[in-house]
Symmetry: C2
Subunit: 254 residues, 2 copies
Amino acid sequence: MIGKNTIKLIKSLALKKYRTKEKLFLVEGDKLVTEVINSQLIISQLLVTLQFRENYEIDLKNIENILEVDSATLKKASLLQNPQNSIAICRLPNKRELPPKLNNSLSVFLDGIQDPGNLGTIIRICDWFGIENIFASPDTVDLYNPKVIQASMGSFNRIAFYECSFNTIHKIAKESSTPIFGAFMDGANIYTETLPQNTLLVMGNEGKGIRKDVEELIDRRISIPNLSTNASKAESLNVSVATAIICSEFKRAL
Amino acid sequence: MIGKNTIKLIKSLALKKYRTKEKLFLVEGDKLVTEVINSQLIISQLLVTLQFRENYEIDLKNIENILEVDSATLKKASLLQNPQNSIAICRLPNKRELPPKLNNSLSVFLDGIQDPGNLGTIIRICDWFGIENIFASPDTVDLYNPKVIQASMGSFNRIAFYECSFNTIHKIAKESSTPIFGAFMDGANIYTETLPQNTLLVMGNEGKGIRKDVEELIDRRISIPNLSTNASKAESLNVSVATAIICSEFKRAL
């Protein structure tokens, strides 16, 4: 059994303040939890039901504590609407040091993405397309927000995520001779534009787009053409959808 | 002021059962509501705060009743976590009759999409790419689910949405000489495949993919190649993201 304090701890990890203080974050959902068990992450406490134990072999090497709980307790502790059979309380990895140079393939800079579902989805897209490095402004939603982890479907642990200011990444990009592209409503048509494989792609905030002072440092403005046949057109695409289409366009030629 | 019954009515419209019974559905969010006011939809009751009245000119031609409410009441009535200044209770339009033939551009068939956010996002993507007709199996989430309306961002009212069985659309496609493509994990690479402009594209359920008996009637299996550089690759893309990438690939050549 687990005590009230563990449940309280789990609930507190919904907030960045407590994740930072406790140096912990949550992973829920059986598929994700099994992925984490087999990864390099350290699990401080693993809560599982009997059913989970019966369904999965658990490699204990990165697990500090394992607790069996009943479904009702797990449900009480869970942040999910439909809890499954496991919750992993993981140790926050150390922040990655920025690379001195950008590599020769596509990287992404996120300028203030706010919605955790969008960030998680973008991470999953990057993982799919072999984009290894994601940089994000400090005001982007936290990577370890439980909703980001959930939406990323395990990809959070497969890509390199760096928090840094645009000025910092701009300097590194210049030193690496990396062109910086940004997605705008009025940019050049991505379908006809030359898209260098070593680009740093900037995607902006859901409502406000790319910040003015970031915009000024962008080399090339690109856009997904609106092909709507309606008089009153769709005004925009969701930022994760736009990221998917642009990344696909960069990668399709490979 | 509005009574308890109106609030009860609004809350009930979260469920398809009551939307069907009352022949009503909800639109929330000031931007969406203003779009609906200026559309052909009939608004049975429009609830607005004083602030909404001050910010927007309201064309009354399609509004049966308009009620001014205070923010607290609107908040109580709203289904949103962050209510704005308006709620439109709209009359359900009649179901569209199926077209006898498919047109000469891309159409989409959705085979059991369950998540309302995904359906809304797919509708927004189709609107963006000028895809005029979306067909969906009867077990796809309801178009008038408030979360679908929200995620579609007004596009729900700009595309033609039809509920029909795959057998029905299959017959229509055959009569129109329309090739049927389906998205699978193991299909042909979309980046090198010839993609006819008059295709019917089938996208499957989030977890289960395309149903077996639908699969059997598909002419061509396509896939977005997984370019992940990780040993443990991302297993899949979200269905709305996959739809965006495939539609982009069909439309880019135009």
